[in-house]
Symmetry: C2
Subunit: 135 residues, 2 copies
């Protein structure tokens, strides 16, 4: 299941990407429009800023703005930052690999074999879609 954190993060980024001007958008505006708890959203946008998706400006007229073009922001990147691994099992994760403690040999593991296929197909979809495709 996708966490609300990730879901809200994607919605917020989409909201910002939809702005006609490149003006900063306030957290409160996004929160109201997308029905998200403002405090929770604050923490999400902070993560997205710290990981290089957003810039920010304080004080009146401040807010968050996109640093890159929506076409250049792949959904894989967003989801990895907010949700963590895309793979359903750590032992097939490209960016968050971890060995299973129960599995002695990945090569003969039936789950491993299957989850690699799932990972690849998911990766294809999320790699093909950019923020621009969601606007």
């Amino acid at each position: 299941m996708l966490s609300k954190k990730t879901k809200y993060g994607i919605k917020a980024l989409t909201f910002i990407a939809r702005q006609p001007e490149r003006n900063p958008v306030q957290t409160s505006e996004i929160a109201k429009s997308e029905n998200i708890s403002q405090k929770f959203l604050e923490s999400i946008l902070l993560i997205l800023r710290k990981s290089g998706f957003l810039g920010s400006k304080k004080g009146k007229g401040g807010g968050y703005y996109l640093i890159k073009e929506p076409e250049d922001i792949k959904m894989t990147a967003i989801i990895r930052v907010l949700e963590g691994p895309i793979a359903m099992v750590p032992c097939v994760s490209l960016n968050y690999y971890e060995k299973c403690d129960d599995c002695p040999d990945e090569k003969t593991c039936s789950v491993h074999k299957l989850m690699i296929q799932v990972r690849d197909s998911t990766l294809n979809v999320l790699g093909d879609n950019t923020l621009a495709d969601l606007t």
Copy 2:
């Protein structure tokens, strides 16, 4: 993330499907071979029996056995029983649909649009694979 429940369930089913004879396999044997807590595995095999994947036999020489041919057991069916929805968001789930409380219109929701694609590609992989493919 795939739960251990589902992971162990798939491993157990694969183990049973690998048996040369159709003889019942004991929980203890699977647990030992696959490094799974026996008690936990018991509860999983019980679910798989109640949902029609396995038959069981009590007493000495008892255990669990497949009811259908491995070729006829799709991975989608197994995962839906053990893990629940395959979709990452309830609002795009075919078997466990639920409306999002924050989202006023699914048609214009960016997350919805994306998650439908992820669901379909995952469904393709899990629908193409049967238990026989994992053995």
